[in-house]
Symmetry: C2
Subunit: 176 residues, 2 copies
DNA sequence: TGGATAACTGAACGGGCGTTCAGATAAAAG
DNA sequence: CTTTTATCTGAACGCCCGTTCAGTTATCCA
């Protein structure tokens, strides 16, 4: 994943990957049928981990504001700790074959829907004001994922502080 | 640019590019010293065009709200019409050599600063409420660029409507 | 300990890569 | 029309690619 994130899928050879893990290229084929499957497995595992982790952290219940705050903090925390996987899962979609692409895209759609449902619930409860729940969901995800472009562990702001800043923005964005 | 966006820089060969424009691979070297320079030139031209276009559209003046709305609408319009260039300019940064990377990154920084200055002006004028102008600028840009992931010309919403939806979100985001 | 199974090596395969360049061709200039 | 200049072709260079596989080495189980 690190190699793919750093150089791009097409630019990384099976020989480089093999060197990284201390074997010859041929040995990799005991673990993956081909290079494309290796990429797909990495991406699917990342998306599965994302969905599972959110299922663990979602407080559920009827307090849409609390759930949205939890989502905001969760997304930032999860994605900054797996920057390589996030980058690859977004950028190398084009290197997947038709059905592999569809599978990963579907998992992404499900994740977006998790957020969308929180927004709809909040809207129904009268705590959020928003015109288009689906679009707002994608807007919020784009906003939050953007943290990855600048956040560094050694930077001025602790992750906690970043989460709070972004929660402020998200809260206002949804009219809550 | 289309080929790079669709398949990735490393996955596109000089022979493919040559075929696309109707010559043999060798002829390309009358126009670029090497493949890397070709990528760099495309990216730098895109960033230059972005900065120039905003300079044309920036209403200037002291009305920070009007300038921010203009920025929001401009960014969405410009980026959706050049989706390939936006994608490549973000994603293929890693394929640039040190100094080429620095040059493109600097142009991006300048663009972010244009927005940051609008936010600071609005903050000083008391029309915006935000804790971190720089971070808010990057958050807004990430939010707006996210339109590219889902917007299609043939979709349900006209670009005008999308601009209005996002301007609503941005306005609330900055406490305006 | 011995036999089976899993893991790995090292070489090979056909093929595509970026780039170069002598020679052919087209366009421009005088 | 002739000469000069700009473009382009087509072949070649050395190199690296993903993948396969016979043979070797390590691990596991009875």
């Amino acid at each position: 994943m690190r190699l793919f994130a750093r150089h791009g899928f097409a630019a990384v050879s099976m020989r480089q990957i093999a060197t990284e893990v201390g074997v010859q290229a041929g040995a990799l084929y005991n673990y993956t049928p081909d290079k494309q499957s290796l990429l797909f497995d990495l991406m699917r595992e990342h998306m599965d981990a994302l969905l599972d982790a959110w299922q663990q952290e979602d407080p559920g219940g009827t307090d849409a504001r609390a759930r949205l705050e939890a989502f905001t903090r969760f997304h930032i925390r999860f994605n900054t700790r797996r920057a390589d996987a996030v980058f690859v899962s977004y950028m190398e979609l084009r290197n997947l074959t038709g059905e592999n692409f569809a599978a990963v895209t579907e998992l992404r759609r499900i994740y977006e829907t998790r957020l969308e449902e929180i927004l709809r619930a909040g809207q129904d409860a009268g705590v959020f004001t928003l015109a288009e729940p689906r679009i707002t969901a994608m807007a919020v995800i784009a906003l939050l994922t953007g943290v990855n472009t600048w956040y560094r562990d050694a930077g001025r702001l602790k992750l906690d502080e970043v989460e709070t800043l972004y929660w402020d923005m998200v809260r206002r964005l949804v009219g809550g």
